[in-house]
């Protein structure tokens, strides 16, 4: 190509000029395609880099922070947990089954490429309003896709979260997280090394699917979104299962120098990243790439996002032994190139050089923008005088239990195999999932995903803090020691200063919480341009938290256990209704500031809870979150099939606010009556407010003088909403 093309494939004019300067000439079609994907928002993080650098990424237990395929933490006994969360938002909106399925496949590869056997999947999902005509179809497709892939590949899907809000009507969020376990001294990285070493392609053949998926994922949607269906990839979980087994078998040897999955931007980004990290050049012979169909062009081979493929650099002379393993698992294996000392990527096909690019300028000198931003104005305080509290608080509780954001997710997680592997100690439905570490005595990992987007919208800094704090709290509530997080930053168009302001605010809140809670970020993913026709989603920094339980027999669950157990509330009741779910669901208002997160109190309270659980006196534990105290009590009662009778917590607010307010850093625990005074003394010693609210028993949930509802009524409301919604005829 000797002149400027009309279609710059998503690059800006300035970025194109920079490409010309780097090459000293106009790029040809395949080269331009490579610039386009490598400098796409999705691959380059060009709008977010500046801010992400501010997040804390270090702790004594962090083995590898952001920058590799996934984060790695030390969990003791010579073992490491490897995990990451990643978005597949745009593809899932266009084609929900395959979009969600390949999202699961992609995040699994990020984890096993580092040498870990995946032991758990989670997913954080956000859909539009239940009333929107597309929502039901999207929920059905996404859930079936996650199940279809995860069930077949044999990794249990153990947890996650789901929200519904009109802001996601045109742009749903599908964030998938995988956690794996590896020997701490056998972690595999992606930096290529050793001039002359063979570059090996394994897995599925390359087809014409998903070309330019990364570019698509870096632009806003308009009404023609569905015409972009050909950019969505198709998943093959059976091949992924074989790829896991073959890679882990090869990793038992010492043949691998470097390994990287082919994710977004396929062969292009995997080869560039490996070469760039290792400071080497690479020659690829595209004739050797296993192709699904004949006549594929260099452009198609380099930019295809066909799934279930990996790229490796092997030690010389090990090709045959490695190939035997992949042949045993009936997978393709091809030597497609070798490393050089030129610092350039040369693409050859049919005896010609079809592309020749310098690696570092492309991979490292990708654009970095300091986008203009404006801070989100603080929300007006909530005028309590104007809140029409529900007259019948019992009826209000029933409505809350059957509201879309609180109703049971059983319909979803029963479609996921959450047991395969034989180590799921805490199934979906609790505060965090718990999976035993295979063959490691009683050690177990706790995992959760959390974010409250309505808080982030109202006050990004508090919302960012709260997302991290809630993940920390949920791990604490099962008795785990929180260790680290992965973050999946879902935002709108970063070229709008108010959206960039949301991003900056959330990062600041997250930073503060990570520091205060010793809870560093070890991996993450950014998804911007989540907009359709100029309307952005709620800012959604989804947090995936991982913690460790040294003795799984000490794990706590939310279920009430025994009649007569005392119900103790830790933390202070202030009746904070701003941005609460009750205000939205019962009063139709999304207003006010979100509950403030005091990180020192958060830490103090959580550390106490963890100690009480470890001491073995706590019979049940649940953090207070969406819906406030009374919803948390109802959830504990339904899980344990045991009622409770409690009094109103002390506080300077209305009964409605005290029961449904969402003030932070609170937990409900139950203890046998003989431990009551010891627990209160321990709380006093730790400086944590604690009050005995009542006791477990009966078949009703009663708040003396305020409400009394049969568990059967609560259970119906809680269990029936989602299956009822999903089986209702589609809206006209």
């Amino acid at each position: 190509m000797s002149a400027r093309p009309a279609d710059l494939m998503g690059l800006t004019e300035a970025e194109y000029d920079n490409a010309v300067e780097i090459l000293g000439r106009h790029p040809n079609q395949v080269e331009l395609g490579i610039f386009s994907v490598m400098w796409s928002e999705h691959c380059s993080y060009k709008s977010s880099k500046k801010w992400l650098k501010q997040l804390p990424t270090k702790a004594p237990w962090v083995i590898k922070g952001p920058g590799e395929n996934a984060g790695v933490i030390d969990i003791g006994d010579g073992l490491a947990a490897i995990f990451k969360m990643e978005s597949h938002n745009h593809p899932s909106f266009i084609e929900p089954y395959q979009g969600a399925a390949t999202g699961v496949g992609g995040i699994l590869r990020d984890v096993f490429t580092m040498g870990a056997r995946p032991v758990a999947n989670l997913n954080a999902l956000r859909f539009g309003s239940p009333d929107h005509p597309k929502t039901r179809h999207l929920v059905a497709g996404v859930v079936a896709g996650i199940g279809g892939y995860g069930n077949c590949v044999g990794v249990p899907t153990v947890g996650g979260e789901v929200n519904f809000h009109p802001a996601y009507n045109g742009n749903i969020l599908v964030n998938a997280m995988t956690v794996g376990i590896a020997p701490a001294d056998r972690i595999f990285y992606s930096a290529a090394a050793g001039v002359g070493n063979p570059v090996v392609y394994v897995g599925s053949k390359t087809g014409r699917d998903g070309i330019h998926g990364a570019t698509m994922a870096s632009a806003e949607f308009s009404d023609d979104a569905e015409e972009k269906r050909p950019t969505v990839q198709v998943g093959d979980p059976f091949t992924e299962k074989l790829l896991i087994e073959a890679c882990l078998e090869l990793m038992q040897t010492d043949y691998i120098v470097a390994i990287q999955d082919m994710g977004a931007a396929g062969l292009t980004s995997s080869s560039f990243e490996m070469a760039s990290k290792g400071g080497v050049g690479i020659i690829l012979d595209l004739d050797q790439v296993p192709a699904r169909e004949t006549g594929m062009t260099p452009y198609e081979l380099m930019l295809s996002e066909s799934q279930e493929r990996m790229l490796m650099v092997l030690k010389p002379g090990r090709e045959a032994a490695a190939e035997a393993i992949f042949r045993k698992w009936e997978l393709d294996f091809a030597v497609i190139g070798h490393l050089t000392d030129t610092g350039r990527m040369q693409l050859r096909m049919h005896g010609e050089i079809v592309g020749d690019l310098p690696i570092d300028p492309l991979a490292l000198a990708s654009p970095e923008y300091d986008r203009p931003w404006v801070p989100t104005p603080p929300p007006a305080p909530l005028d309590r005088g104007h809140i029409a509290a529900p007259v019948d608080l019992g009826e209000a509780l029933v409505r809350m239990m059957g509201s879309p954001d609180i109703a049971s997710r059983r319909w979803i997680w029963e479609q996921y195999d959450h047991l395969v592997g034989g180590d799921t100690a805490q199934r979906p439905g609790g505060d965090a999932a718990v999976v035993r570490v295979p063959d490691a005595g009683g050690k177990a990992l706790a995992m959760t995903t959390d974010c409250t987007p309505r808080y982030c919208k109202a006050d990004p800094v508090q919302g960012g803090r709260q997302a991290v704090a809630e993940a920390w709290r949920n791990l604490t509530a099962v008795g785990a020691r929180p260790l680290a997080i992965t973050d999946n930053m879902n935002f709108g168009n970063p070229q709008r200063p108010e959206i960039m302001g949301q991003f900056v605010g959330c990062v600041e809140g997250m930073r503060e919480a990570c520091l205060a809670l010793d809870f560093p970020v070890v991996s993450g993913n950014v998804s911007l341009y989540n907009e359709t026709n100029g309307t952005g989603i709620l800012p959604t920094p989804a947090i995936g938290g991982v913690g460790v339980l040294d003795d799984v027999t000490r794990m706590a669950t939310i279920a009430f256990k025994a009649t007569g157990d005392r119900i103790v509330v830790l933390g202070e009741a202030t009746g904070h209704l701003g941005q609460s779910l009750a205000l939205r669901e019962l009063c139709g208002r999304e207003e006010g500031p979100p509950p403030p997160v005091d990180l020192a109190i958060e830490r103090q309270t959580g550390d106490l809870v963890r100690k009480l659980i470890a001491d073995g006196h706590v019979t049940a534990c649940h953090d207070v979150a969406d819906g406030g105290l009374v919803v948390a009590l109802a959830e504990m009662a339904l899980a344990g099939k045991l009622g409770a009778e409690v009094g109103l917590p002390k506080g300077d607010a209305s009964p409605f606010a005290l029961l449904f307010g969402e003030e932070q850093a609170r937990y409900i625990i139950t203890v046998a009556s003989r431990y009551e005074s010891a627990i209160l003394a321990a709380a006093a010693a730790a400086g944590v407010p604690a009050a005995v609210l009542g006791q477990v028993g009966g078949d009703k949930l009663t708040v003396t003088g305020q409400l009394s509802v049969a568990l059967a009524t609560l259970a119906r409301a809680h269990e029936d909403w989602l299956p009822g919604y999903m089986s209702a005829p589609a809206a006209a």
Binding site: G147, G154, P237, G422
Partner: protein
Amino acid sequence: MKSAIVVFPGINRERDMALALKAASGKAATLVWHRDSALPDVDLVVLPGGFSYGDYLRAGAMAAQSPIMRAVKDHAARGGRVLAVCNGFQMATEAGLLPGALMRNAGLKFICRNVHLKVANASSDFTGHYQAGQVLSVPVAHHDGNYFADQATLDRLEQEDRVAFRYCDAEGRVDDDTNLNGSRRNIAGILSEDRNVLGLMPHPEDATDPQLGGTDGRGLFTSIVEALS
């Protein structure tokens, strides 16, 4: 008791099964590769759960054609015991080790949860530790567990006391309301004519550890270990 678990491409509950067999028998099961043509000298062969060949054809259809299946059939013909769970049950029907077929669940969805099972036959090598009519809580995890056979076959299974388990509720009620997946006559597991092959959709191997939510599946493993020791 010596046991072997056959590993087909795409199966995924071999670990769960190995843990349950080890706990019950004290001996580690041997893993056998599907392309092998001979079995080691074992008392029990297990066809485990998972998605052999992705279930891209009919569930179990491809695995039923694997080289090892001839040896498994020979083992069964000699009276050797075969435990076929979930995808293994599907393979066993495809291979002709057991009658009938497993179709898509009536609700068309994958189902993973604990279900109640009523023990119908408590006198086989696999079920001797249970009482007839006993109600168990055991997980299922399948998309294609809807057991089908023609009327004559179903009648024969019942006349010969070869129905091992039926789906029921906590009180042991067996009817359409307690039928998990549309299976004919609520059948969850059946025995071969010689009662040496058991096929079932639920996962007793995932109900053997109190930490993981129940131990009602242990009886099956205790039964087989005692019968074969």
